[in-house]
Amino acid sequence: MKKMNRILVILLVMSAMWLINTIPVQAETAYKTFTEDGYGQYVETQTAYTVNETIIQFDDEVFLQAQDMKVDESGLIYVADTGNKRILVGNKNGSLERIIGDGILQKPTGIFISHDEKLYVADEVAAKIFIFSKNGELLQEFERPESILFGEKATFVPEKVAVDKRDNIYIISRGNSNGIIQINANSGEFIGYFAPNQTVVSPLTAFRRAIFTEEQLSRMIDMVPATAKNINIDEKGLVYAVSQGENAEGIRKLNVAGRNILDTKVFDEFPISVEIGSLENIFVASENGFIYEYTSEGNLLFVFGGRDDGRQRVGLFSKISAISVDESGNIYALDPEKNQIQIFEPTEFASLVHESLNLYQNGDYEASKEPWKEVIRLNGLFDFAQLGLGEAYFKEENYQEAMDAFRQAKYKDGYSDAFWEVRNVWMRENVIYLFYIVIIWLIAAQVWKRLNKKFQWKERFRQRFNESERWNWLRKIVFIKNLIRHPIDSYYSIQHEKKASVPAALFWLIIIFAIYVADKYYSGFIFRIVQDGEYNFANDVISFFAIFLLVITCHYLICTINDGEGKFKHVLTGFIYAFAPYVFFKPLLIILSNFLTYNEAYLLSLANFIIYCWVGILLFLMIKEINGYSIRGTFKIIFLTLFMILITVLLLFIVYVLIVQMIQFVVSVFNEGVYRIENR
């Protein structure tokens, strides 16, 4: 017997050696690692995690379609070996510690290790939650709650389970869309449903609701909110839930009231597992094989991994069913199809990021600055580090530096706040000069007024300008200013007094275009919609002039068949001159937008609103005056124009599609002919 034991020990040691023996190979990984920039786009970064071990079995016990895995504080790995109806416990070196629940479990799909070191197992087929001690003794089990509140038809198919410090069990039941089931482990009482996913009422659903019958409605699937896919609980008792589906919130971090306190748009549609790391970082795995690391506030730090697809390289997955993180920050990812666990180890770079984040989250801003700077030196595109650095500077009231860092991070709120402070300081220092300027301005105005009265410069200049034939063209251009004060008279002048011309109008058209472009690309950072470095000039030109042409032609054509009096050139000039407020005031707003913060944003939107209304009114007047319509007639014309635009666009689209089809057809026939002949 002793001999047997010794042989066994030797065998065990040997098999352990075999696993340890593999040197962590440092290679170019099969996957790229990305982080997110301030705009939410992915940018490449240093590899954050590399695989240093792959576990395919615990001693001789292999797993089959394993659905869940947890790593406890001592580093033991618990695998819900779903296909083999048991829980396997092993360690990092691949040796088996024990087998739990053999013969009791039928389809264990979710496990959780509670604060008091009990193992909770959700079993779908047994429809029970089992509680085991760490040594594998069955302590307790829970069935479907009897309570009326649970719902008569509600299903109890426990898929995943989690337990908080007050021994409340949170259960995800497959197909139960009421929310996460909460049961108290001590009293066995059903507490209620927690944090159901919201149905997203899309306009389509609203429309369907309005017209469908009851029966049809009940058959619609997307009326039922998605059930959460997985849950987890952190040390503070916050519940994390991941859900799949387009309209569901991918990751939710829920407070006690069941409210989501995370504002993170998850890009992945298939999150399957969530885990909380030592820095309260949120790790999310997606079924596609990608692993995400978010900060506790939901900023994406790293994403890496991917689907294997026959690339056969380490670090990729056929599928992920669970991830877990151990005390030293290694990520364990379970692949239920390859039946293996890959263990990822943080690299030097990831450790540096974590160190900075740790200091920063502990409020040690001063100390966090250096590591953040080092991160930025290592990766100039790591915007989250800029954000961290910016916050650190901001907390130290070093607003200029903070502003620069926030600008780099494209973090508009922070930039706005920092800029407000910087501007405040500037104002305080320079307000006296502003005062001087105003005084000088007033004095100069008075002086000018007096002198002008005496010498009549202005009047003489105006007279000369108005009478000279040479300045005729310029007069037509300048005429636009009259639209501001006397729109109706001006339209009369345009139509009957030749006070404006088509070339002058085209000149203004180009100016309007220039202002439009300047507004798009050169507004202040916080008010700009386009991203840094994004330019679609060709597109702008085409869309601007195409829309202009479309509107003006449609309008003119409608007018001609409706007894409009305007000629095309009058309609054209009138139309363009109606943009006078835009021409005069918009540039000011563009400049102003560079000096405003979110605190004054309402000023800007108000001003914009006024400008657009004003332009609208001028356009209305233009149609009315130039064609001599009544108000009622004008409305009619406007609607008709819109209608015609719609029809024209449709028509153009149809023609385009037909032509494309035709070309493709001809090309296909020709090519196929050529190749058939060539290869005979």
Binding site: T22, Q26, A27, Q46, E246, D268, L646, N679
Partner: protein, 783 residues
């Protein structure tokens, strides 16, 4: 007009109706598609086979290989009890009568299936080339494992290949004995295909040749597709033997001979010298949030593979001496289809490809017109006893390279490589804007600063010096630099400066790629694939989506012109990229050209450059190793395939002491300490990619993957790397590596001048041979 008489309310109602209908359509179309672009990366069809509808009716029940998913393991009687050693000459071993011998080896041949057995006369160790009692499997695999030569053939434009071996398709064999071996003439009467196999026993092992003039294909219907040469040479079942297979993946990797418990479903199977983009469909890649989430695996840089049996201390290095441009290396770890471990070379004669007939849909399958133009010659050189390990293989390869003048000893002076990125372009409002990253001015300043800090020997490559920068200025058509780089210092001044200060300054010339956004393709011929589509290499950049490849003749024309330009501008140092590590088939009008054609054009022009300039080549394939002053971007590791058990620095074991080798950039390594230790172990010279500006300026350019390059970050790192590595280099000198051992996390490298380098990759302090090494450190010992 009638419209005129419509009432407003009617029109209003009509408009409202249209609005409702329109928004309904909009909403429906919106909700159908998600606004996020998560394309799950779809399966890129892995091995060459594509499941396309077969046009012609199949040829009976021959099952195409690789499609067989069922794995034939376990149950069957696996143990073949074949002796590992026989200590005397035999009449016959396992039905293989004695054929011939020399001073070192005896060759036994079974004429029935061309199976050979090699006996080492010193140790008596045996090497088998076919399976004696194949495990139960389907007929075609059974025949495969028992044949010395296996042919795959095409039937019309059927995309699956059929197998003809020494049993299937009833070959007629005629064996003629020669002085040093035998010639087997093989004829498949039904297929009307025949060829000769020449096998010779040499001092080093055996060579197997199939000269192309002996290949006769008389049928129009049946054409040769590919040949396996002794696929099972040195095979083993599951974990029955000890040893490993060596694959030339990146720096080199080993696959241990062991029972993999069915863990691996697919083999290692890669073209020598990289994928052939001219005919093989590249991965249809779905993007992940507009990014390609995968790194490409390393190319095979040298046409070698190996098998080592450590139990019988016998092994071989297969060197593909001829036909390497159309060869594949395949390694099957046990469990990938069959329970055997085997490694082989496969030669591709002909392929089928998809010919699209319209823009979006519709393709037809076309068979390559001509057979690829090559002879096959594989030299299996054997190692035994204390040399039966990967070091022995590396030494053999080194000898082979030196003896055949494929590599000459070069000046291996230690230098640090400081590369600069000059200009890039980003989108501007009206036209593209130049982004000067390192002007010549600042380049000069940085180099001066480095010399002040004690970095005296510098090799520097200036990338993106040309007009419009590194990606905008492709191809390079003039030797004048981008304007934005020349503030006070011009390119000429800069080159003069570097000459005066002993800095080897090379201008980088990418001779392969073509930017069709910037240049009109009317004046340059572009590389077209066999299906006559212009090849596009997708890069998904912020400015340019992808690049085309120049037609090899265009490359030659441009390079010839630039040769004169460079000479006129007094530029002596040039680095060529792109053409040094790409080879493809292409269609030239109606002609189909294979990789050998491309290779011969490239080789010619590179040889010209080698004569006119000091020439550097970027990660060159082995056939160019003699043309370059140094190897640039030597892979430091393998591609990390799931089935590889260890990485070995095979290139370094072979070439250290002969050719200076520069590593990939240190900038982008996540574990820089570990990377430094690898430089120490492999004797690679350090490389840095430096810009004067902060790389965040590159965010909107095609070089947005360069995230760390600002000089300020590296100004202290470079001198310290330089100092340490130079010191090691001085101790080692031009000694070659004679031994390389790994003991868990410690590596011990022994040189021919008795210097030993120990490297400890573990975080903990470790002891070895009486020396104590701190965590993550190294020790150089001289005797």
């Amino acid at each position: 007009m009638k419209i005129g008489k419509w009432r407003i309310s009617t029109i209003f109602k009509l408009l409202l109706f249209l609005l409702v209908v329109g928004s309904f359509i909009y909403v429906v179309s919106q909700t159908e598609e998600s606004d996020q672009v998560l394309d799950i990366p779809a399966a890129p069809e892995v091995p060459a086979e594509e499941e396309e509808p077969v046009e012609e009716e199949g040829e009976g029940d021959t099952i195409p290989e690789e499609v067989i998913p069922e794995q034939v393991v376990e149950d069957a009687p696996l143990e073949e009890t074949r002796p590992l050693f026989l200590h005397s000459k035999q009449e016959k071993i396992d039905n293989h009568p004695f054929l011939i011998e020399n001073d070192h080896y005896e060759l036994y041949l079974n004429e029935e299936n061309l199976s050979i057995i090699l006996r080492n006369k010193h140790s008596g160790a045996l090497m088998y080339s076919t399976v004696q009692d194949p495990i139960d499997s389907n007929e075609s695999w059974k025949n495969f494992t028992q044949s010395g030569i296996v042919m795959e053939y095409l039937v019309d434009t059927n995309i699956v290949v059929y197998q003809a071996d020494m049993y299937s398709e009833n070959p007629e064999k005629k064996i003629t004995n020669t002085e040093s071996g035998f010639i087997a003439s093989i004829h498949y009467p039904e297929l009307q295909i025949s060829f000769d196999v020449h096998v010779q026993l040499t001092d080093k092992g055996i060579t197997v040749e199939i000269p192309q003039e002996t290949i006769i294909e008389e049928s129009d219907k049946y054409k040769m597709a590919s040949l396996y040469i002794y696929p099972f040479l040195g095979y083993s079942i599951l974990g029955e033997r000890n040893g490993y297979m060596f694959i030339p993946d990146g720096s080199g990797a080993l696959i241990h001979l062991k029972d993999n418990n069915g863990k691996f479903k697919q083999p290692y199977s890669n073209m020598v010298y990289g994928e052939n983009v001219g005919i093989d469909e590249s991965y249809v890649l779905s993007l992940f949030n507009r990014m390609n989430p995968f790194n490409d695996p390393e190319n095979i840089l040298m046409p070698v593979f190996g098998m080592i049996h450590t139990d019988s201390e016998f092994g071989y290095l297969g060197i593909i001496e001829e036909g390497q441009f159309s060869a594949k290396i395949e390694a099957y770890p046990s469990g990938a289809i069959l329970p055997y471990n085997w490694i082989t070379s496969k030669f591709i004669y002909r392929q089928v490809y998809n010919q699209p007939t319209s823009q979006d849909t519709g393709t037809m399958v076309v068979r390559q017109k001509n057979r690829n133009n090559f002879d096959i010659k594989v030299h299996y050189q054997f190692v035994q006893e204390e040399y039966a390990n990967y070091m022995g293989l590396a030494s053999l390869y080194r000898e082979y390279l030196v003896d055949n003048n494929l590599v000459e000893k070069k000046d291996i002076r230690f230098q640090s490589r400081i590369d600069f990125l000059g200009a890039e372009v980003e989108q501007g409002l009206i036209r593209k804007k130049e982004v000067p990253m390192t002007t010549f001015d600042s380049g000069k300043r940085i180099l001066e600063d480095l010399q002040d800090r004690g970095v005296n020997d510098i090799l520097s490559i200036y990338k993106g010096w040309q007009n419009k920068g590194i990606h905008g200025g492709l191809p390079i058509l003039s030797s004048s630099a981008d304007k934005s780089l020349e503030n006070e210092v011009t390119l000429e001044d800069f080159i003069q400066f570097s000459q005066e200060n002993n800095i080897d300054m090379y201008l980088y010339h990418n001779a392969l790629r073509f930017n069709s956004d910037e240049f009109s393709s009317n004046r340059h011929k572009l590389m077209k694939k066999f299906n006559k589509r212009t090849h596009e290499e997708k890069v998904y950049g912020n400015v340019y989506e992808g690049f085309q490849f120049l037609h090899p003749e265009s490359t030659m024309k441009i390079l010839e012109r630039m040769n004169k330009e460079y000479e006129k501008a007094n530029i002596d140092n040039v680095m060529l990229g792109g053409i040094t590590n790409h080879l493809f088939s292409y269609s030239d009008g109606n002609k189909e050209q294979d990789r050998i054609k491309t290779k011969s054009i490239y080789e010619e022009v590179i040889t010209d450059y080698d004569e006119s300039f000091n020439l550097l080549l970027e990660q060159p394939f082995s056939y160019l190793w003699d043309k370059t002053e140094a190897l640039i971007d030597v892979p430091i590791s393998s591609s990390n395939y799931v089935f590889t058990d260890e990485d070995i620095p095979f290139i370094s074991l072979t070439l250290r002491g002969l050719v200076p080798m520069y590593a990939e950039y240190t900038n982008f390594q996540a574990n820089q300490e570990e990377f430094f230790l690898q430089l120490v172990e492999q004797g690679l010279y350090p490389s840095f990619y430096i810009t004067d500006e902060n790389p965040s300026a590159l965010k909107n350019t095609n070089s947005s993957d360069i995230y760390s390059s600002e000089y300020e970050r590296y100004e202290e790192m470079i001198p310290s790397y330089h100092e340490e590595l130079q010191a090691i280099h001085e101790t080692v000198g031009d000694a070659v590596i004679i031994n390389h051992e790994k003991k868990e996390t410690i590596t011990k490298v022994t040189f021919s001048n008795d210097t030993i380098i120990y490297v400890n990759y573990a975080d903990e302090v470790q002891e070895i041979d009486g020396y104590t090494l701190d965590g993550l450190s190294y020790k150089v010992v001289t005797n």
